[in-house]
């Protein structure tokens, strides 16, 4: 019974979470891996999680946490490795239109990327993003503002396009 319920939850949410995680990591393979780990942990607690109002948010939070953790490890590894510039992302076939945005997103620090994706793609409010990432609302606002400014700088798009609201 619980297994059926987990399978239904998994099938219903997988694609959506994969899209969100892909934007945060910039790489589908990484996103799939993180998501499997997060779903795996969810499956262990499914008896309890199934009663949650939004188990999807729980899985997303775990995956985002894992993504941040992995990014930190990658930075340390790259730094210790002679350490010139971060490794280039693996080639992904993107249209010209989205290529710049993918590149701009990759340049953002993980915290800003997470805030941008949760707020602008998932559609969470600032307070919801704060709760999801377990950080103060003010920090979310700062990350959103800096993230948008960096995107604008990189994309050379007029400021009002990403104006807050």
């Amino acid at each position: 019974m619980a297994e059926d319920s987990f399978e239904r939850f998994y099938t219903a949410t997988y694609d959506r979470l994969l899209r969100q995680l892909s934007l945060v990591t910039g790489d589908r393979g990484d996103a799939e891996d993180l998501l499997q780990e997060a779903y795996g942990r969810a499956s262990l607690r499914w008896g309890r999680l199934a009663d949650y109002e939004a188990p999807e948010a729980w899985v997303r939070r775990v995956a985002l946490h894992l993504a941040a953790d992995r990014a930190r490890r990658a930075r340390r590894r790259a730094a210790a490795l002679l350490r010139l510039r971060p490794a280039p992302p693996p080639p992904v076939e993107l249209s010209a239109d989205t290529l710049d945005l993918a590149d701009a997103l990759r340049r953002l620090p993980m915290g800003q990327r997470q805030a941008i994706v949760l707020h602008h793609l998932v559609g969470l409010t600032v307070n919801e993003v704060a709760s999801q990432l377990r950080i103060p609302s003010g920090t979310v606002k700062t990350r959103l503002a800096r993230g948008r400014a960096a995107l604008v700088r990189h994309l050379e798009i007029k400021g009002e396009v990403f104006s807050n609201e």
């Binding site: 694609d15 934007l23 499997q36 490890r73 350490r83 010139l84 989205t98 396009v161």
Partner: protein, 242 residues
Amino acid sequence: MSDLRERLDRLATELTQGAPMPPPEVARRRGRRHRRRRVALAAVLVVAVAGISMGVGTGQLGRRPAPGVATPGPPATVFTPALAAPTVGKGEFAAVIQDPASGFPARIRGRITGCGPIEMPTFALPQLVIGEVRYRGRWVVVNVAPFPATREPPVKHGVPWVSVNRVPLDGNGGLDWPLLVAEQPHTRLVLERADGSRGSIVGAYRVVRHVFKDGSVVRDETVRERTGAQVAVAWDCGRFPR
């Protein structure tokens, strides 16, 4: 903002286009693996805590073979007797450092966190074994390059080489921290698998510091010459390449 949302949406669609959904069983298996790891870790902690609280470990620790303190001497390309390489299990690396300088630990042991080709914008090492462990609030990272680079990094160590880096947790990445390097002709490499996924390297080390220009490492300067003290590193990637 709506433009940003649309563009993010399009990007997400392109990034995930055609991605197959793995069956839920895969996630469950992964969950079970996660639980097994945690149980094993908890068991190790319980045993360690019990051992310490009963005072059993004290005598044992004292009897462990010490890596020994090398007597400083002239630089040597021959190191006799060679330091014995530590033993490792699958997925593990271990290092022993004689006469550790600049705050390096005498022994390091941990899980391998990366094993395979490393591609950087300016250089490419065909194979590298990396392990990192937390040590006194820092990370100690061990790198091994058994084969020549396909594109040389600006800092050319003689291959095979091994380096041990300390990375502080204050965010600067440890780029300006001394690192320990053993390289040809001061190393002896033993590959137990031809592809390099299991082996050991032993050699006399020196301590160097990176010299930067325009934010990039251009060369190393030696801050401590070789004294004859050796570093021995063994690794077993298990599955390879990873």
